[in-house]
Each structure stands twice: as structure tokens, then as C-alpha cells.
């Protein structure tokens, strides 16, 4: 019984020091995903970008150019349709489409379910194409080994400074470089501003359309898979 103020309450105020990340449950599921990937010797790469930056086209070219001794798998995240998955399936690569509906990002639980729809035992490299969005996906760890953000030349060189959270935890892929002559995109500025956020960031410049710069990107993937460096 409360004897302090005479209110008649039989309870007391309990203060609990929690100090826990609010997305700790997602982080835990992401750790489980990572263990699953490691257990199968799979390198997992989370591709993030705005809609239309060229994630699916990059994957199509990567499928063509990657050494055929390595097996790919792809998980597609989109609010609606399985059009991206169809493009990948047409190239003979195992793919699973996550249709997120209104959700603007993938989380670790969605990835977990999707991973079990793929033949994990045969895959060396798993690409996760996140929902096209430079904001929300950045807040959710998936358990992949690497985050890669695509920034297409037509989006403008100010995006790393405007969307710091997503660029901070990722390598950078400047895409559609064949369009550089038609824009005032300043490559040095974009790279400088991105490196402030993440000094260790690896940066690639490529055009999946013309093939320019694809060699470096593919070489980096070969290095990662063959050396188990992920």
C-alpha cells in the first residue's frame, strides 16, 4: 500500500535500465543468417540503391561475366511484381522474390525465410537486391557480409552527403558512367563526400550497359569468393 501520498495505490514505480538496441531482435536474426551463410561457405552481398539505379541490370551483367565455376543465387525484394526475379530466372540462376507490399525495406526475418527457398548447398555467392530506397534499408542489418550501394550518375553527386546512413556502412558502385558526358556529375566530389562517411569504402565505377569498369567489379567478386575473403 502506498504510504507516501495516501493515493491508495498498492504498487510502486519500477525503473528498469535496459540499454538495448531497439532493433536487437533483428540484429540477432541477422547473426543467425550470417551463420547460415558461413555454414554453407556463401558470400552474401546486400545491394541497395534508389529505384532505377541499375541493380537488376548489374546482376544480369554479373551473371554473364562471373566465372562459371561459381554458382550464384539471388533474392529480390520489391514492393510489387516479380519482374526483377523473372529477369534473373531467365538467365538460369536460382532466385526467390520477396514481395514486401507496403514495406519499404527488407529485414533479417524476411531474408531468413527467402534463403530457405534457395539451394544453399550449391551457391557460392548470394546477392540480395534490397527494395529500391536510399533511406529505410540502411537501418536493418540482414546478416550479409557486404553492403554495396549503387549510385547512378543521373541521380546527382550530392547523394552521399544527403543520405549518409546508407553510404556509411557500404561500398560504393557508381553506375551508368556512360552517361557522364551528358550530366554535370562530379565524380571527385561524390567520392570525397562518401569517404568522409566511410574512409574504408571500396569504390567502383562502371557501366553495365557498355561493360566499362565491369572487369574490376567482377575481379573483386572473384577475389572475395575464391579466397573466402568475406
Amino acid at each position: 500500500m502506498c504510504t507516501e501520498c495516501g493515493c491508495g495505490s498498492k504498487g510502486h514505480l519500477e525503473i528498469i535500465e535496459v540499454e538495448e538496441k531497439i532493433l536487437a531482435a533483428n540484429d540477432e536474426r541477422a547473426r543467425h543468417n550470417r551463420e547460415t551463410l558461413d555454414g554453407h561457405g556463401i558470400c552474401g552481398i546486400n545491394l541497395m540503391s534508389s529505384p532505377g539505379a541499375g541493380k537488376t541490370t548489374l546482376l544480369e551483367r554479373t551473371i554473364e561475366l562471373l566465372d562459371s565455376k561459381f554458382e550464384l543465387g539471388v533474392i529480390e525484394g520489391d514492393p510489387e511484381t516479380d519482374r526483377d526475379a523473372e529477369r534473373i530466372r531467365a538467365r538460369g540462376v536460382p532466385v526467390h522474390q520477396i514481395t514486401t507490399g507496403q514495406a519499404c525495406h527488407l529485414d533479417a526475418a524476411m531474408l531468413h525465410e527467402a534463403m530457405h527457398q534457395l539451394p544453399l548447398g550449391t551457391i557460392d555467392l548470394l546477392f540480395v537486391e534490397n527494395v529500391g530506397n536510399l533511406v529505410c534499408p540502411a537501418a536493418f542489418e540482414l546478416g550479409t557480409h557486404l553492403n554495396v550501394v549503387l549510385l547512378s550518375i543521373t541521380e546527382g553527386d550530392d547523394k552521399p552527403a544527403k543520405y549518409p546512413t546508407v553510404f556509411r556502412k557500404a561500398d560504393l558502385l557508381l553506375t551508368k558512367t556512360d552517361l557522364l558526358p551528358y550530366t554535370d556529375f562530379n565524380i571527385e566530389k561524390a567520392i570525397r563526400e562518401a569517404r568522409v562517411l566511410n574512409p574504408q569504402m571500396k569504390i567502383f565505377q562502371l557501366s553495365a550497359k557498355t561493360g566499362e569498369g565491369m572487369k574490376e567489379w567482377i575481379g573483386n567478386l572473384h577475389h572475395k569468393i575464391s579466397k573466402n575473403y568475406f
Binding site: M1, E14, V18, A25, A103, C104, H105, P164, T165
Partner: protein, 119 residues
Amino acid sequence: MHELSVVQSLLETIESYAAEQKATTVTKVIVRNGPLSGIVPHLLRTTFDTFKEKTIAEDAELVIGETPLQIHCHDCKQEAQTMVLRFACPLCGSRNVDARGGDDLILERLEMDVDDDPY
């Protein structure tokens, strides 16, 4: 609007602590947000106030504290803190800096009413 997923996770955590303490109601939820968490405090509050209804935290007040960004300047070699999401040294203005910290949204503390004599 990923704040919805964040609030769902927050409410699950609150429910679990409240059940552990056999709380009758949660009165205050204190969180700490970093400038690089990707969470907008205003949207977090609106979403929390919408989705707390009919939960143990229905009457809870959400208190959002902000944590600073740590700036290490390569030019003046100083460490500084800033609440502004600007990647420049607050002391000398140089943009030759590393920015650290401020990535997380942390549930710091919960205050709840606990019934001492539930029977």
C-alpha cells in the same frame, strides 16, 4: 517509413520487460537516438503514439534523447562532438574528418508501475 518496424520492435521489447516485472502499466519510455540511425525522432514519436494504443504502454510518455556525432579531424588533430549532421570539424571547419558513433537507436530506460499485491 521504417519507423513502423522500429516501433513494433520497441513495443515487443517493452511488453517483454513489463511481463517480467508483472507491471500494470508502463509510464515512461526513454530512448537515445544517434544522428546516423536513420530514424527521424518526430516520426518515431508519431508512430509510437499511434501504435501504443491497447498495449501496456498505452499511457507511456516517449522521451527521445539525442546522442552526438564524434568527429575526428585529420587537420587540427582534435576530437569534437556535434549534434548537427554535418561532416566537418566544428573547431577548424575542415572537411578532412572521420565521423563516428551515432548509428544506433537505444532503449535506455523503462519506468513502470508494478503491483505489489497482485492477489
